[in-house]
């Protein structure tokens, strides 16, 4: 396990390095000058030069990348603008706020959104998938299958507004989406996020229902499940200890990737419910040619995916003893 973690962490660092370099290169491949954007309309060449200097982008691209990279480990000085201690992701071109601070500000909301909806879609998705698998071909199965088909064809920007209109504005059952930190008031935290959770989870639930059902249908017909029945195990034990155990692996794998994607930002959901999370930050920074912010958000979402991949592989090895970590 230790060897596995060391090897995979080293691999992850290499991947993040490559991703950041590619992002850097791609950013400058687009004919768009961030200095131009912050210099404004009446920009003279001298002013532009000054802005470039202030933004610390008056170097060749590889040198800039090197400064950025060095900043993460040893911090970075911006002359009279100030010092940024390690780990330093630089300052936003757009509003001169530190990148790391901005992301850390936005992250709790995104994490709340991701984990909250994950709980909802796991419980409902796996639950209904299990019922569908046990009642294969019966009405429960048919209801679950058609409902998940409908739900997975819905779009958040549609169902989100519809839900807002009916549940919040018309009926007033749910609160208008808002974010209160969990540490401040857990109740308000939950009630403010309930609607986004449900809407986001609705679509994912459908995926998990179908996935759980198909995995279980497969494992229920495995020989070792038949053996478990042949030796007199109760139906419950056959289902949970044998069939579900076998179905879990693939579901955990997909879940890991899905969760990582959500942490990278549920862009549409955040927009629909006007929540200031990482997803909206990403969109903003791209629109504003805000290189440090783009890099910061990219690093976060790539990092989430890489880390969850390692976690998933480790969990898989715990679930399935045939997998050896190396």
């Amino acid at each position: 396990m230790f060897r596995f973690l060391v090897r995979r962490t080293l691999g992850a660092l290499v991947i993040l390095l490559i991703i950041s370099a590619v992002t850097f290169w791609l950013f400058y491949a687009i004919p768009r000058d961030p200095a131009m954007m912050s210099c404004g309309k009446n920009c003279t060449p001298d002013m532009l030069k000054q802005v470039r200097h202030n933004l610390d982008i008056d170097h060749p691209v590889p040198v800039q990348y090197w400064y950025w990279l060095k900043g993460i480990f040893v911090g970075r000085s911006y002359g009279d603008f100030g010092n940024c201690s390690a780990p330093c992701l630089g300052y936003s071109f757009a509003n001169r706020e530190p990148v790391l601070g901005t992301i850390l500000d936005r992250l709790p909301l995104t994490l709340s959104l991701a984990f909250g909806s994950a709980v909802v879609f796991l419980v409902f998705g796996i639950g209904s998938g299990m019922i569908a698998a046990v009642r294969q071909g019966k009405w429960q199965d048919k209801v679950a299958s058609s409902a998940s088909l409908v739900a997975s064809s819905l779009q958040i920007y549609f169902i989100g507004y519809v839900a807002m209109y009916f549940l919040v504005a018309k009926l007033g059952i749910l609160n208008n989406p808002s974010y209160t930190p969990l540490t401040q008031n857990p109740f308000e935290w939950a009630s403010g996020l309930l609607l986004p959770w449900l809407v986001l989870a609705l679509i994912w639930t459908a995926n998990y229902t179908r996935m759980t059902r198909s995995q279980l249908v497969e494992t229920l017909s495995e020989d070792y499940v038949r053996t478990a029945r042949a030796k007199g195990m109760s139906s419950r034990s056959v289902f949970f200890r044998f069939a579900w155990r076998g179905a879990m692996g693939p579901i955990v794998t997909i879940f890991g990737i899905d969760l990582a994607t959500l942490i990278g930002g549920a862009i549409i959901t955040e927009s629909v419910f006007s929540l200031q999370g990482v997803g909206r930050l990403a969109v903003q920074s791209v629109n504003q040619s805000d290189l440090p912010m783009v890099l910061g958000v990219t690093l976060l979402s790539a990092g989430a995916i890489v880390v969850f991949n390692i976690v998933v592989d480790a969990v898989y090895a715990v679930i399935d003893p045939r997998i050896r970590l190396a």
């Binding site: 060897r3 060391v6 090897r7 080293l10 190396a326």
Partner: protein, 347 residues
């Protein structure tokens, strides 16, 4: 075995599959010694049987001969031409002369192609246009393997297992091969169907003069089909002989144990000699030193652990009957049921 140039000449053939591992950087840390120094020849029109238990390397050998795998060492000559490391282009003309028949008649036929297309496949790939056209040739081949020639437009799923294996045979025959490597061609079939396919292969071998390397674990079927038989254990040939010599006078203890373990469908008054081997075949990653069979052999001594016995004509063997054993069996002694020693206890 003829004294003239054999069709296929294999010497010192070796295949080691590398095992990756190590920390922090992965590297080759060992090898699965699947096949380790095989010597044998196949004459034109001859059938050589390769028998042995799972993991003995017989299937790997088949894949090496057909060059689906690249040998690690040794030499394979086909009609005097060295094909051990021949590349795709050099192999192309030979590929049509060496064909393969596989075990699984379900998995080895493309379900989306008609039987006609499957059988004509090798002709298309090699751009061969037989006189009268490919379709006529396909019909002819279907006839040879005992299927209705009018069925060339059907799909594999419309045929039974035995019929599918016939289609596999027809495909192998399409290019008029000189050598067919058949890897367990009947073991997936029902008993009553096995004989049909064995008879078909035998007819093909005799009437078309095709040489066979017949890989199987069923000793009775190999005896029926192959004039010469090689017994393999853990990547090595332990005994090779004409079938009468091998089955009537096995000299290697393993051959003897293997033969005695075959259950026969007769209710005899006196039971046959039974030798029960104890334990399992050791791992080919770390095979025993010296003779590889020694850990399960009841005759093993110090010498067997230090010296690998060469494959030679043992005292009393007929020419061409080679045995790799320091203490070959003698026919007359029929000891009481014997048990080999327990490898776990010995280790």
């Amino acid at each position: 075995m003829s004294n003239t140039n054999p069709l296929l000449d294999v010497s010192g053939l070796t295949k080691h599959f590398p095992i990756k591992g190590g920390f922090p950087i992965k590297r080759t840390v060992g090898a699965v010694q699947a096949v380790d120094g095989l010597d044998f020849q196949v004459a034109e029109g001859e059938s050589l049987g390769l028998v042995g238990e799972s993991g003995c390397g017989k299937s790997t050998t088949g894949r090496l001969i057909t060059r689906l795998l690249e040998p690690t060492g040794g030499k394979i000559s086909y009609r005097g031409q060295d094909i051990t490391h021949a590349n795709r282009r050099q192999l192309a003309p030979i590929r049509s002369e060496i064909q393969m028949i596989f075990q699984d008649p379900y998995a080895s036929l493309n379900p989306r192609q008609t039987v006609g297309k499957i059988i004509a496949g090798p002709m298309e790939i090699n751009d061969i246009n037989p006189p009268g056209g490919r379709e006529a040739r396909v019909r002819e081949l279907l006839e040879i393997v005992g299927l209705n020639p009018e069925h060339f437009n059907r799909f594999p799923h419309e045929f039974s297992g035995g019929q599918r294996q016939r289609i596999g045979v027809a495909r192998a025959l399409a290019l008029q091969p000189k050598l067919i490597v058949a890897d367990e061609p009947v073991s997936a079939l029902d008993v009553s169907i096995q004989a049909q396919v064995v008879n078909l292969l035998q007819k093909v071998q005799r009437e078309l003069g095709i040489a066979f390397v017949f890989i199987a674990h069923d000793l009775a079927i190999v005896r029926h089909f192959s004039q010469r038989v090689a017994v393999m254990y853990l990547g090595k040939i332990v005994e090779i002989a004409d079938r009468e010599d091998l089955y009537d006078n096995p000299r290697h203890p393993y051959t003897r144990a293997l033969l005695s373990a075959v259950p026969e469908a007769t209710v005899e008054a006196e039971p046959r000699e039974r030798i029960r081997l104890v334990g399992d075949v050791p791992s080919p990653i770390n095979p025993p030193s010296g003779c590889r069979f020694r850990t399960r052999c009841w005759k093993a001594t110090e010498k067997c652990a230090t010296e690998a016995p060469p494959l030679v004509q043992a005292d009393g063997n007929k020419p061409g009957h080679l045995t790799a054993c320091h203490y070959p069996e003698v026919q007359e002694t029929v000891p009481a049921p014997r048990l080999a020693k327990d490898p776990e206890a010995a280790a």
